[in-house]
Amino acid sequence: MSTLTGTWTLLRLILRRDRLLMPLWVVFLGLVPLAYAPSFRDLFPTDAARAQYAAAGANNAGFVALYGRLDGSSLGELVAWRAGFVPVMIALISLLVVIRHTRVEEETGRRELVGSTVVGRHAGLAAALIATLAANLLVAVVLALGTSGEGLPVAGSWAFGLEFAAAGWAFAGVGAVAAQLTRGAGGARGIAIGVLGAAYVLRVVGDLSGMGGGGLSWLTWLSPIGWAQRLHPYSGDQWWVLALPAACTSALAVLAVALSGRRDVGGGLLPERTGPATAAPSLRSPSALAWRLHRGLLAGWIAGFLALGVVFGGVAKSTGDLLDENPNLQQVFARLGGKAAIVDSYFAAVMGILGLVAAGYAIQATMRLRAEETSLRAEPLLTTGVGRLRWAGSHLVFSVLGPALALAVGGLAAGLTHGLNTGDLGQVPRVWAAALAQLPAVWVLAAVAVALVGLVPRLAPAAWGALAACLLLGLVGAALQLSHWLLDVSPFTHIPRLPGGTVRTAPLLWLVALAVALGVAGLVGLRRRDIPVG
C-alpha cells in the first residue's frame, strides 16, 4: 500500500465537510478587491487625480504599513495596493483549513478511525494540502476573471490573482508543518499564526524602511507576504517571483511529510507539557474554571483590538491629508464640515467595524457555553453543587465584559495614537467614547446567541448568521438604498455616529433593554430544558 492510498477519498470527505465554508471564502476573498475598481474610478477619474492620490498614499506610513508599497498610479496598481491586506487573510484561512483537516482530525480521534481503513500514512496530509492549494488557485481564478472583466489588463489580473494564491500556498505549508509539531490543534494554530504574524511584521518593517530609502528594505524579501506583493501586478508583472512561494510551499510540504513519518498518529514532535498534580487553591468554582477556559481567548482579542486600534488611529490623520490634494473630495466634505469632519466620519466608520468585530467575540464567547454542553464537559460540573445559572453565568461574564474590555482597549489605542500623531490629546476621549458607544449593539448580538443557546440550542450557530446580516446591512445597506425598516433590524443602525454625531440616549437604552430581555429569555430556557441537547 502506498502512503498516499486513499487521498482521493479523503479529499472528497474534505470537500463534503467544507462544501459551504470553502466556496464562501473562496468567492468572498476573490470578489472583495473588485469593489475597489469602480470606487477608485469614481473618486479619481483622471490620471492626474490618481497620481496625486498615489503620491499621498505611497508616502503615508500608515497606509504603507497596512497595504504595502505603491510604485505606480494606474487603476490596476491602486486596486492591487488597496487589497494589500487580503493576502494576510487568505494566509490565515489557509493555515487554519490545513490544521482543521489534519491536527484537529487527529486530536478528536477521527483520524484513527479513518486511518484503520485502506488509507495511506500521508493521505490525510496530502488531501488537506491539495484541497487548500486548489481553493487558493480558485481564488486566483475568480479574482483574475473579475478584475479583467472590470477592464483591467488581463496579464496583470492573473498576476494579481496568483499574488493572492501564493500567500495562501505558503501558509498552507506553514500550517501543515505546525500540525506535525504539537498534540493539540490549539498549539499548532498558535505556532502557525505566530509565523504569519512574524512574516507580516517583516513585510511592514521592510516596506517602511524602503519608503525612507533605509537599509532594511531587504527584510521584505524574507516574508512570504512580502513576496506576494513583489509580483507587482499591473506594474511589470514579475512572474519569476512566483518561484519563491512555489519553492517555499514545496519545501514545507516535504518537511511536513518527513516530520509526519517520524511520529506516531495522535502524537506531536514537541514534548507535551504537563500540569500540576493538584489544583491551585483558587480553582474551586465555575468562575475560576471559566477564567481558565476563556483567558487565552480574551488575551488574544485584546491584543488584536490593541493592534487594530493603533492601525486605525495611525491612519486617521492621513484621511484628512488626502483632502488637501483632492478637490473632488474637498467639495464633498466642505459641505459636511471640512477636514475635521472627514476624520470624524472616518472614525465613526472604523468604530462601527470595531463594534462588529467585538460582536464576533461576544458570540464566540457565548458559544463556548454551548461547546461545553455538546462536548459533555458541562455534565460533570452540573452534577456537583453547581446550578445551571451559576454555570452559565460564569461563561456569560466573558460575553458581556470581554467585548467591553476589548472595545475599551481598541478605542483607547486608536484615540491615543491619533492624539499623539496630531498633538491633540483632546481627541482621546472623543474616539474612546465612539468605541464604547458600540457596546449596546454588541450586547444585543451576544443576547441573541444566549437566547438561541437557551431556547433552540440546535440552532445556536444561527447567531453567526445574525452577525453576518448586520455586517451585510452595514456594508451595503445604504448603498443599495434598502428600506429603513430593513436597516433598522440591525442594532448597529441605532448606534450614534461618533465622534461628531448627536447622541440620543433612548435608542441606546432600548438596545440594552432588548439585550437584557433576550438574555433572560435564554437563561430561563436553559434552566427548563434538557442538558445535553446533542
Binding site: 498534540r183 493539540g184 504537563t274 468554582s285 477556559l293 442538558i531
Partner: protein, 308 residues
C-alpha cells in the same frame, strides 16, 4: 430502610424516539444495584433524569428523598456521578479536574484522593487532552470516589479500564459499601462485574424494566441445567412440564428445567437411581441473553416480571 432511588413509570421521548417507556427502578439504601441493558435501552437517560439534567415527560422519580429536578443542586452535594463518556478540559491536568469537581461538590478527602490515584496508577499531571479513554475514566472515578457522598451513580464506569484496573475498581466499590454504607447504582455491560458486586439487579430493554430482583430471585425465575448419570433406563421426562432440550444418551440425561419444576423432576430421576449429578444455575449472561435474543421474544420478559 428507605429507598435511595425510586422510579416508577418513567417516560421520556426525544423527537420521535421513545427512550423511556414506563421504566421502574428501586435502589435500596446501602446496596449496590446493577443496572443492565444493551446500548440504547435507556440506562443513561434514566441516570440523567436522576441527576436533574433531563426532565421526564411522565412518571415519578425520587432520589435521596428529594425531587431530582427541583432539588438538583442540594441533592448533588450528596451524590457523585461518573459519566460513561468522560471528556475533560484539554488544558487542565487530571489532578486539577479531580480537585475542581471535588471542591464544587463541597470538598473531598485529600488522603483518600491520593490513595485512589496511587491504586488506579493514574498520572495526575497529564493534561486532559493527553489521557486515553481509560485514564479519563480513572480521573472521573477518583473525583467521585474521593468525595464523601451517600450515593454513587456510575454509568459504565469500567468500559475503558484494563482487567487489572477493573479488579482495583471492584475492590474499591466493595470497600466503599462495607466501610461507609454507600449506595451505588452501577450501570454496566460487564455481567461478571455485576455478578461480583451487585446485591440486586434491574434489567431494562427498550426503555422498560423487564426484570428486577436479587440474583437468586432472578435465577429462580429461570431454568437450571441438569446433567445426570442414571443407574437404570432413563424415565420419560419429555412429557413433564418445565423440561426443555432433553437429550438422552444411554444412561446419561441432559436437560434444562424450570426452577419451579425441579422438585418433580428430581424425584423422577431418583426413582431410577442416580449415580452422578451436575446442576448448574443459569449465569447472569444466560439471563441477560434470554431477554435480548430476537425481537420475537419481546413479550416474555414482561410476563415474568408480572409473575414475580
Amino acid at each position: 430502610m428507605t429507598d435511595a432511588i425510586s422510579v416508577t413509570g418513567l417516560v421520556k421521548t426525544f423527537g420521535s424516539t421513545r427512550a423511556l417507556d414506563g421504566l421502574d427502578l428501586t435502589v435500596r439504601t446501602g446496596e449496590v444495584h446493577g443496572f443492565l441493558g444493551p446500548n440504547g435501552a435507556g440506562k443513561t437517560t434514566t441516570i440523567r433524569i436522576l441527576l436533574g439534567l433531563v426532565r421526564a415527560d411522565a412518571g415519578s422519580a425520587r432520589l435521596l428523598g428529594g425531587d431530582p429536578w427541583a432539588d438538583a443542586t442540594t441533592l448533588h452535594r450528596r451524590l457523585a456521578y461518573v459519566p460513561g463518556d468522560v471528556t475533560l478540559w484539554p488544558n487542565l491536568s487530571g489532578g486539577e479536574v479531580i480537585d475542581l469537581l471535588g471542591r464544587a461538590r463541597g470538598g473531598l478527602n485529600r488522603r483518600r484522593r491520593d490513595e485512589l490515584i496511587e491504586r488506579f496508577d493514574l498520572d495526575p499531571t497529564k493534561k486532559g487532552r493527553a489521557y486515553s479513554k481509560g485514564n479519563r475514566q480513572k480521573v472521573a472515578l477518583v473525583a467521585a470516589l474521593a468525595s464523601d457522598v451517600d450515593l454513587l451513580l456510575l454509568d459504565e464506569p469500567t468500559s475503558g479500564l484494563d482487567p487489572l484496573m477493573e479488579n482495583v475498581f471492584r475492590e474499591i466499590v466493595r470497600e466503599e459499601q462495607a466501610r461507609a454504607g454507600r449506595t451505588v447504582l452501577l450501570s454496566s455491560h460487564i455481567l461478571s462485574e455485576v455478578e461480583a458486586l451487585c446485591d440486586r439487579v434491574t434489567i431494562v430493554r427498550d426503555g422498560r424494566t423487564v426484570e428486577t430482583g436479587t440474583l437468586a430471585e432472578l435465577r429462580h425465575l429461570t431454568r437450571t441445567s441438569i446433567e445426570a448419570d442414571l443407574a437404570g433406563a432413563a424415565p420419560d421426562l419429555a412429557d413433564l412440564p418445565g423440561v426443555y432440550d432433553l437429550r438422552v444418551d444411554d444412561g446419561r440425561v441432559r436437560f434444562d428445567v424450570d426452577t419451579g419444576a425441579l422438585d418433580v423432576v428430581l424425584r423422577e430421576l431418583a426413582s431410577v437411581g442416580v449415580r452422578g449429578l451436575t446442576s448448574r444455575p443459569p449465569t447472569l449472561e444466560e439471563l441477560f441473553l434470554r431477554h435480548y435474543e430476537g425481537a420475537g421474544t419481546a413479550g416474555r420478559g414482561a410476563t415474568e416480571v408480572a409473575a414475580s
